[in-house]
């Protein structure tokens, strides 16, 4: 959480619209944001903090009369930058091996043979994901969060065509390494 004081309630001017807008966005985007941040390498607690901060910033942005255009990419950009600022855990967790919990969730309920295959397939995918360049991984994660190429470009500060090339390169790499 930032040290700067944060308004706990909306200002009296234009309260209804912004609250409504922020609430709708919160319901729609909270989970994709959390998932993006967790997959980026943050812990669940860190991701919660970042998302909380992002929505507080959104309220302030809307209360100050900020533009409501591209608000989805605006939120992802705020969250992405906050995650980037937590470089320690971000870098550290990028290099961590596949968690036992992740493996367990994949093979949950499968027969032993099927579980073994799934586990192996998932390990290969994990290794392939972490071997991607940062930009490639981030593009894929944002794309998995439902963002369009234009929005991904706004979050990462890239041209839309560059996003297209990066996504294409990343998927081809994954397909080649995972042999799915």
């Amino acid at each position: 959480m930032s040290g700067e004081s944060v308004p706990l309630a909306m200002p009296l001017a234009r309260p209804a619209t912004e609250t409504c807008e922020a609430t709708i966005l919160y319901r729609e985007l909270r989970r994709p944001l959390l998932r993006y941040l967790v997959c980026l390498g943050l812990t669940a607690d860190e991701a919660q903090d970042v998302v909380q901060d992002a929505f507080v910033s959104l309220q302030r942005h809307l209360a100050a009369g900020g533009s409501q255009e591209n608000i989805r990419s605006w939120l992802f950009r705020v969250a992405h930058n906050a995650a980037r600022n937590r470089q320690n855990s971000y870098q550290q967790r990028f290099s961590t091996p596949l968690d036992a919990e992740v493996e367990a969730s994949v093979i949950d309920g499968a027969t032993p043979e099927r579980a073994l295959l799934e586990k192996e397939r998932f390990r290969r995918l994990h290794s392939a994901v972490w071997s991607l360049a940062h930009a490639e991984r981030e593009c894929l994660l944002l794309r998995a969060g439902g963002l369009r190429y234009r929005e991904i470009g706004e979050v990462l500060g890239m041209a839309t065509s560059t996003v297209g090339d990066t996504v294409e390169r990343a998927i081809k790499k994954l397909a080649e390494k995972c042999n799915v």
Binding site: V38, F122, E168, L174, A175, V180
Partner: protein, 230 residues
Amino acid sequence: MCDFSRKLIAQMDGELPEGESAELERHLSACADCRNRLATYKRTSSAFNAYCEAKFAAETGRKSSRWLPAAVAVGAAAAIIAALLILPHLRVAQFPPRMSPQGKAAPVAAQPAEPPVIAANPADAAHPVPNRMNRASRQHIGAALPRGRNVERETRSAALVQSSRVRNPTPFPPQPPIEITIPADAMFPPGAVPPGMSFTAELTIAADGSPEQLGLRPRLAGFERSKNQP
């Protein structure tokens, strides 16, 4: 590799302009290689999404799993207490009603020939031990009884029945104890208590069937007192 292969992923993501998209669709109907590539990219994309979901679920699940053992224990304890509160009410109907002031007795409910012993563990149910409570626990429960009370209270536990029989002769026949044996695994997370540990619940209820007192007595298999021991 044909020229269209570079546009397959953009097509999959719906990022191609309408004209190009239609042109690519026509090409796909004729090019098996591009169709195969597109299918591979779709599988890769799905696998990546599944990976993200699993990682997210594992991370958020790990956070909640810290509280899981405590939640299980609290839930089990709540279920046991709820069962203990309900069961005595079922037994109240088996007691003969109190004599009316005019000396007329209301119809007497049927008395079961063999007192039921309720055991959560099927092994315990096979070997009911109605009067297994030792002297110490009888004294403990007896001491917990409020002194000076008349027959307004009664108990369904063996100790209480025995003590009330001595101090307060009542028109009620002595009742066998209800013992509810609860396996420790039902109350605590696995490994939290030694194997073979169980708990015996001792419940005191008032004449109106409302619960008064509940005690849980731990019991470890193999360490029970023999009949000859004091």
